[in-house]
């Protein structure tokens, strides 16, 4: 699994944005990772404490939003969620589908603390 490299990338993106905003400390990172991604939240959380130690992100909380994997049937326009295994359209049996959600893989926002004077 590649959770360690993903965790390092989260640290890099979050730290860059925090520094650019002259933040003192990052308190929370809001991630959007679709269900189609094979990332395991718990492993990222586990690595996070180690990877972020001594950085601007130390002690921050990772908040995962996991949009469901939804397919759209191109033949009958039915939208359906897939849980475990990929399946053809449950309404008409078609294999012609488009992925509507579940592929998201980004940092939406970070919550930070700033020195009051740096806002002046």
């Amino acid at each position: 699994m590649h959770e360690l490299s993903v965790t390092e990338s989260i640290l890099e993106v979050a730290s860059t944005h925090a520094n650019k905003a002259n933040a003192k400390k990052v308190t929370r990172i809001n991630l959007v990772i679709g269900r189609l991604s094979s990332i395991v939240d718990d492993s990222v959380q586990f690595y996070w404490e180690m990877v972020s130690e001594g950085t601007i992100c130390a002690g921050s909380i990772l908040n995962f939003s996991r949009p469901p994997a939804v397919l759209h049937c191109n033949d009958c326009s039915f939208d359906y969620e897939i849980e475990q295994l990929l399946i053809p359209c449950p309404q008409c049996g078609s294999y012609k589908t488009t992925i509507k959600s579940g592929e998201e893989f980004f940092i939406d926002s970070i919550e930070v603390e700033k020195d009051t004077e740096s806002l002046l």
């Binding site: 590649h2 990772i33 295994l85 294999y95």
Partner: protein, 220 residues
């Protein structure tokens, strides 16, 4: 102290994606076609590369970047033995290659003299799918003995492909593999995907693949 929220909306692997774009730009500038070749362990990646090189070597110069999780040069040695430049990249246990590793590999190859670069990714159907390497074609070597359910179980890797090879078709009579079920799964994920059923052992299917890749090399 004041608390505030900063809007980021940036892809988690954005640094990798930027490096991948640089790899692609460099290859395109030099007119070299790049292939990211992925597969599970044992699907026949190295055999497929060797057979492809054998059939293209009179016409084109091909470089190979071999990704492995351990410092073994078995695969790179096989490529060097057929007279093509090969570079071994040891990922140090990591489950995939990333764009910076490939950039290092490209720097060690005489790319200006090459027509085609094949990057043999680490044998794995999950992790390589998440890292863009900046190659022009993402190619998967699937194989009949792996089973016909793989597209359903590993959807991500099938989603990002431009070419699919189904290897070891000579074994079809001996294993349970429903080609129709397999291809329907692929169609669900990647409609109209260019697919070549082949056998590295008998050479079946290779002429169509070689025709197709030759056209793509001359376009680049």
């Amino acid at each position: 102290m004041t608390a505030s929220t900063i809007r980021v909306v940036e892809k988690i692997l954005s640094t990798n994606d930027r490096l991948a774009q640089l790899n692609k730009t460099e290859l395109s500038r030099l007119g070299v076609l790049g292939i990211n070749l992925m597969a599970s362990p044992g699907a026949g990646k190295t055999s497929f590369i060797l057979e492809t090189i054998k059939r293209l070597s009179g016409k084109y110069k091909i470089g190979v970047i071999e990704g492995d999780t351990a410092p073994v040069t078995i695969d790179a040695d096989k490529i060097s033995a057929v007279g093509m430049p090969a570079v071994q990249i040891n990922t140090g246990g990591d489950c995939h290659l990333d764009a910076s590793m490939v950039s290092d590999g490209l720097n060690q190859l005489p790319i200006a003299d090459l027509d085609l670069v094949i990057v043999e990714n680490v044998g794995n159907l999950i992790c390589p799918a998440a890292w863009d390497l900046g190659m022009h074609l993402n190619l998967l070597v699937a194989s009949v003995p792996e089973g016909d359910d793989k597209p359903y179980k590993y959807p991500n890797i099938y989603r990002g492909l431009q070419v699919l090879i189904i290897n070891k078709i000579d074994l079809t009579p001996y294993v349970q593999f429903d080609m129709d079920y397999f291809r329907k799964g692929v169609e669900l994920l990647n409609p109209g995907l260019v697919t070549f059923p082949v056998s590295c052992r008998t050479g079946e299917g290779f002429p169509s693949w070689i025709d197709w890749i030759t056209k793509n090399i001359s376009k680049s």
